[in-house]
Amino acid sequence: MTKRRQVVFTLVRGAVAILIALLVATVLIFVSADGAGFSEKLAATGEALRQMLAGPLFRLSKTGASFDLKRLTDIFAAMIPIIFTGLSVCIMFSANQFNLGAEGGIMLGAFVTAMIAIYVPMAAGLHPVAAVLIGSLSVAVMMLLPALLKTRLGVSEMVCSLMLNYIVMYLIKFLLNTYLADKTKGQIQSYEFLKTSLIAPMIDTGAKLSWGFLVALAAVVLCGLFMYRTRWGYAIRMIGINQAFSRYSGMKVSLVIVMSQVVGGFLAGMGGGIEMLGRYNTFSWSSLPGYGWTGITIAILAGNNCYAVPLAAFFMAYLSKGCDLMATYAKVPSQLIDIIQGVIFLFFAAEQFLSHYRQKLVVKSAQEELARKKLENADKKEGGAANA
């Protein structure tokens, strides 16, 4: 199949998957919409869909729509943590390691970073950098547990990382509730971060879009270079494709598997830290934030390709913002996002989805190739005849 056809196929396939998900969403919105009769419900569904699909960028009124910069920057801000978890999952899944610890990782990273931001005074420029790095390192260390248990003892990294998520969450809640909470406040939250530690906002639209966004984009490029331009990245991808072969060809498989998860943990922790210092001024998460699961969806949408992560993250942030707006203006519960996400996820991951269409494209390409060869041969023969 030609490269152009491959691209076309991938795009069509993705579009169809998204369309199916939106169709499912429409049916669900219709069922849940307010209204007495069929036509009333239909109108409510239309309004809800309009909010969900156009709302993230445009302020909608009865008469028309106007572009809203605040909402666009909202989306960019929401992309920051999920770009990091998306990259983290990309790298771990590339090595065929189904480590689902990005969820606990981002919470631990956020927590450790917040602690440094509160209790360790430092100079203004250095503080956020050091805090985020220490947060990231702590998650990298956490990921050593599932990684080493996998390579040393063959314990499923998936089950282990899932259990770790719960343990991390409860321990953080324990520490926060008993030792670190600011008792003067009504809700459970830590003391305020020191002013020196905060990451400044990029533009002032009230969206809390911090400079962390640029760090996230830089991380995308670095991860892309790491995965496609270094021998470590090559080893990770090779092990994901064929572990036995990689071992046979002399790669240090165990070491690379451990490394992929440590790097993944580092990235997840970094996402948590930057999210904390860029958006909040106290730590008050009392449950897992869900960014880890979104990261898995992003990795699947991006096909484990780091460079496609920002696009997928934009898409997910857009949808999520749309669902929030829909919940506000059209009274459809915002958790619809989880169903849409799940459906898109399933169809993107389905290898045989639209395989008939792909088959047709392959056949077509092959036939064209044959026809061209025939033509070339005929030309040669003619040329030969003329010479003789």
Partner: protein, 318 residues
Amino acid sequence: MLNFLKLLLTPEFFFSILRISAPILFATLGAIIVEKAGFCNIGLEGIMMFSALAGSMVSYYTGSWLLGLLGALLMGTLLGFVMGFFAFQLKTDITLVGIAVNMMGSGGTLFLCKVITNLTEGKAMASTTGLITSGLCIPNITIPLISKIPFLGGVLSGHSLLTYLAFLICGLTSVILYKTSLGLNIRAVGENPNAASSVGVSVLKIKYVAIMYSGLMAGFGGAFMSMSYAQGWSQDMVAGRGFIALAAQAMGSGECLGGMLSSLVFGFAQALGIKFSAIGLDSNLASPIPYAVTIIGLVIFALSRRSRDKKQRLTAKK
């Protein structure tokens, strides 16, 4: 310490172990049957969430716990079928299908709950606990003779119908796997699908049967959670039991009896955690105990398997 032991050695404590183990055991059976068929169903957690919601919804709207239970079982089996469709027909990686089901299970159930019951968006934690009365829960059964036995009666009698079913179905699953042709086919497909298909077994059909059975078991587990363990459904109520079941399956080396014992170990860990928090341990320290025990259990299991393999290799050399 002695006082604490006294607190533990009561019929109520052992009763609670059995009660807590039951949903884990159901899910473990669901994990075992697909393991025998050669794959891993990590969607158990999500299926349990959906079934728990279905059970509590159906029982509320029909006014019958039996119909509610059937609704939960139907939901579980149906989700098993859908997972099978994506995994076997559309060739999606079964792990990813499971992740997708879990994703939908946590937020999607809340969505459905809000839509069906019209509970307002304002409530952050929607649940059906307000709707369900004890009459809509699965009844507890007092066993006539055994309940009279001093200590044992308190441990064994008075459980929910589903707790007894869990242990009965555990035996039944073992019989299905080892004494019926269906079980033989399932194991054959898991061991070597090509060999199985060469003697005329429909691999696809057997895989479907296995994953739907797995869904059915998760359906039982979900029904137990919302109709017996708690009164009504609430968000994230399954709380990782589907994942713990995967660990229980591995620790029980994929056999029903072993799976049952490991489920009991987890039940013990959780019951212990509850007791600890009763005597004043912070609940945030008591809650992670079952999850930590899962990891420790997996490590111990892996270590013992490794030393056993070593011994076998040594004896083989001699």
